[in-house]
Symmetry: C2
Subunit: 443 residues, 2 copies
């Protein structure tokens, strides 16, 4: 159903038809549809969704719309909502509401849920704790497969996943059992004999990107989260890992373009916030670029004699910047997906050096021919081409080294991307260019 059809049905007050159509919709799509309506209609339509589904739809909505909805809820409805939501979704939602709303909401949830939510709210935004959920299936090592299946039947509906079960004794995580193994094993097998004890796990304070990379590497459905004593405190599921991987890629891409990372969608971010996210790095880079400017002004006499020299500055600067950013981009992404490491520095350096020679000779040749043909000046062609080679070699080496060094210094390698590399390489290229020009033309 499109927004148009829905609005028409609303206008004609055909509420029963709306209710029927809504029941066939996927919760994710319903959340999308609601976000296209104005607030009044949104609240109206939300109330036409069947109760059980409504809680799920709610968990997929944006925070601004959820805030609008919550204001119209009775205490009873708030209680029902929280009982139906998974603790991690509830904590995410609570964490983004204004303080007065939070107080009202928490008053209406039951004690256990409140403890879970408060617990989840403690973890820093980028930690595993912030994306874990506390609803998982615990099995006892002495259960049989049959008993385990009975337990899943009983509590399965309230667990975020039933596909990996956790074998726990005195809170300690002994091992994991997949639902697949339970389903294909004979009924009287002991869980203890079925479980895998060399499982992959994470700690609550680990970076959530680390957890997400484990999902990618091992293709897991869920990873248990344990504390320093080896006790299980929650699990992370693959759908949250997919979100983290997407967010982290977006964050890196934004940082690489000198934008302060923000997880708000583009259109929902205010103009002021957009400007705030962009100005700081632009200012830093602009002021750094003035260094290149003052280097140029040292060579005023050179281009006073041969003004044509100035016209090659953009080409040299742009090419240097592009070469540097190619190298830094390859390295930054390689570090992010855990494909490159600090120990690879000699190999990377040697590879980039050889690549830079190939690239620079190719470009210098093209450029040399062009200048000779256009200006008929072989000496000029020589000066520009040699400067180009020097610029490219330096650009590629700076471009590959800085991200790795940043990683080593526990800085985010993504900062060492095109904008900063370009600014640094600019200065080098101008120095090389005018040095060579003054030498060759004896200025």
């Amino acid at each position: 159903m499109t927004k148009k059809v829905l609005l028409k049905l609303l206008e004609e007050k055909k509420f029963q038809s709306i209710h029927e159509v809504l029941s066939k919709y996927n919760p994710v799509d319903l959340a999308g549809l609601l976000s296209e309506l104005d607030d009044e209609n949104m609240v109206l339509v939300f109330r036409m969704i069947e109760k059980e589904k409504a809680a799920e739809v709610f968990s997929y909505m944006d925070n601004d719309l959820r805030q609008v909805l919550v204001k119209t809820f009775s205490n009873q409805e708030i209680k029902y909502l929280f009982d139906s939501m998974f603790a991690d979704d509830a904590a995410d939602f609570i964490g983004d509401m204004p303080a007065n709303v939070v107080a009202q909401l928490l008053e209406n949830v039951d004690g256990e849920t409140r403890v879970h939510i408060n617990h989840l709210l403690q973890y820093p935004d980028d930690s595993v704790g912030s994306i874990m959920t506390v609803e998982y299936i615990e099995l006892n090592p002495n259960m049989t497969v049959s008993q385990a299946l009975d337990k899943i039947r009983e509590v399965g509906n309230n667990s975020e996943t039933v596909y990996t079960c956790y074998v726990v004794e005195k809170h300690k995580l002994l091992g994991i059992v997949s639902a697949k193994n339970l389903m294909i094993s004979s009924r009287d097998t002991l869980i203890r004999d079925l479980m895998i004890d060399n499982y992959i796990s994470v700690k609550t304070n680990d970076d959530k990107e680390k957890a997400a990379n484990l999902f990618r590497k091992y293709g897991l459905i869920a990873i248990p989260v344990i504390d320093s004593e080896g006790c299980i405190v929650g699990i992370v599921t693959f759908d949250d890992a997919i979100d983290v991987l997407t967010e982290e890629a977006t964050e890196d891409i934004h940082k690489m373009a000198a934008i302060t990372a923000s997880d708000e969608p583009y259109l929902k971010t205010s103009v002021l916030k957009h400007a705030k996210n962009r100005i700081p790095w632009l200012l830093v880079l602009m002021l750094s670029a003035t260094i290149t400017g003052s280097i140029i002004s040292k060579y005023e006499q050179a281009f006073a004699v041969i003004p044509l020299l100035v016209s090659f500055i953009p080409m040299l600067m742009d090419t240097g910047g592009n070469c540097g950013s190619q190298s830094s981009t390859l390295i930054i992404r390689g570090l992010a997906v855990d494909e490159l490491h600090f120990s690879d520095i000699p190999k990377i350096f040697w590879k980039e050096f050889r690549v830079s020679l190939l690239v620079s000779f190719a470009l210098a040749l093209a450029n040399g021919i062009r200048i000779t043909l256009v200006y008929g000046d072989v000496q000029l062609a020589f000066v520009v081409s040699i400067s180009l080679i020097g610029t490219i070699v330096i650009a590629k080496l700076v471009g590959c080294l800085l991200p790795v060094l940043a990683k080593k210094c526990r800085l985010d390698p993504a900062i060492m991307a095109a904008p900063l590399i370009t600014t640094i390489v600019d200065a080098f290229s101008i120095i090389i260019y005018f040095r060579i020009a003054t030498l060759v033309f004896k200025l």
Copy 2:
């Protein structure tokens, strides 16, 4: 076990200990460990892995190492390997082997597997068909839950996932049932009554990025692949979707840095290949940058009179490039994660326009103050600041429009990133700057 320990055990010929330690390893980690050994030891250690696990380890290894291994396999071993691998992994592997090896391999697999592999090999690299698998669980709508569980018990071990089952009648996909639902429903429920019939599906020829985005949006474990008649031909699982999302992000990041996308890891790519991936765009951009150069040479007389003018060129060019790339990056990523669409163009344009005013005034102010303080020349400060404002506004508008237009023309928006935008904006900034300078200083 680290490489060091393993090499020591090998040297001491303690093969039994190696075998025992290997049995505790995760197949993914084993594949990683093998890749660190030289070919001879790699083959030796691979043969010490228990047979069943070896096939799985093999599916996680890089192609160059797999080729080395395959050469040492007997026909019996090749047959066993293919029987144990999932068809999609087998097809991936076959697809990357040299023709003579392929012939030898396919001779040794059984008829059905060969048909599956040949079928999967037909799909283009970026299609859903290329990542789908044909091992899934089919249920009949008239089965009971109990019969369905029996079927899973019987064939589950050969299916890539048992967690979503497909209800099929005469090849037509009627609906899907989750294993969770099977596990928590009463034994005599009919599958027909349990299945969901408004499921999400993809077509074999859909772009694999589209499928991956559906996983992200709906948090699914598997998506069925259907043909034009609604018959099921395979499934895609979440772990393949995670790989696709990572690959696509990497590809976009590389393209945005003017690198031809390649899915080989950085260190495994030869120097020549690296150079080939980088030179084409650099050449295009370098030659485009000469346009800016020739614009500059038109204003030779201007900077012959006031040479100081030249020293502001890098700052203007860099800032324009950075501003443009901020905007284009935000839009390119928004388009990639399906958050922005062509229809948003007016909203994007209006937002970027206002952001550009805020950003440009902030930077112009900082720059104006700096120039007034350093050079004591208010007129110069005025010229540079006004040029900066014009450059930034144009940069942001060009930066946000080009990716959206590229998308509309079915080009990859990622091409409209920093390097190209910078080259375009450079020309604008130089024209604006010298126009204003010649006007104000009456040159």
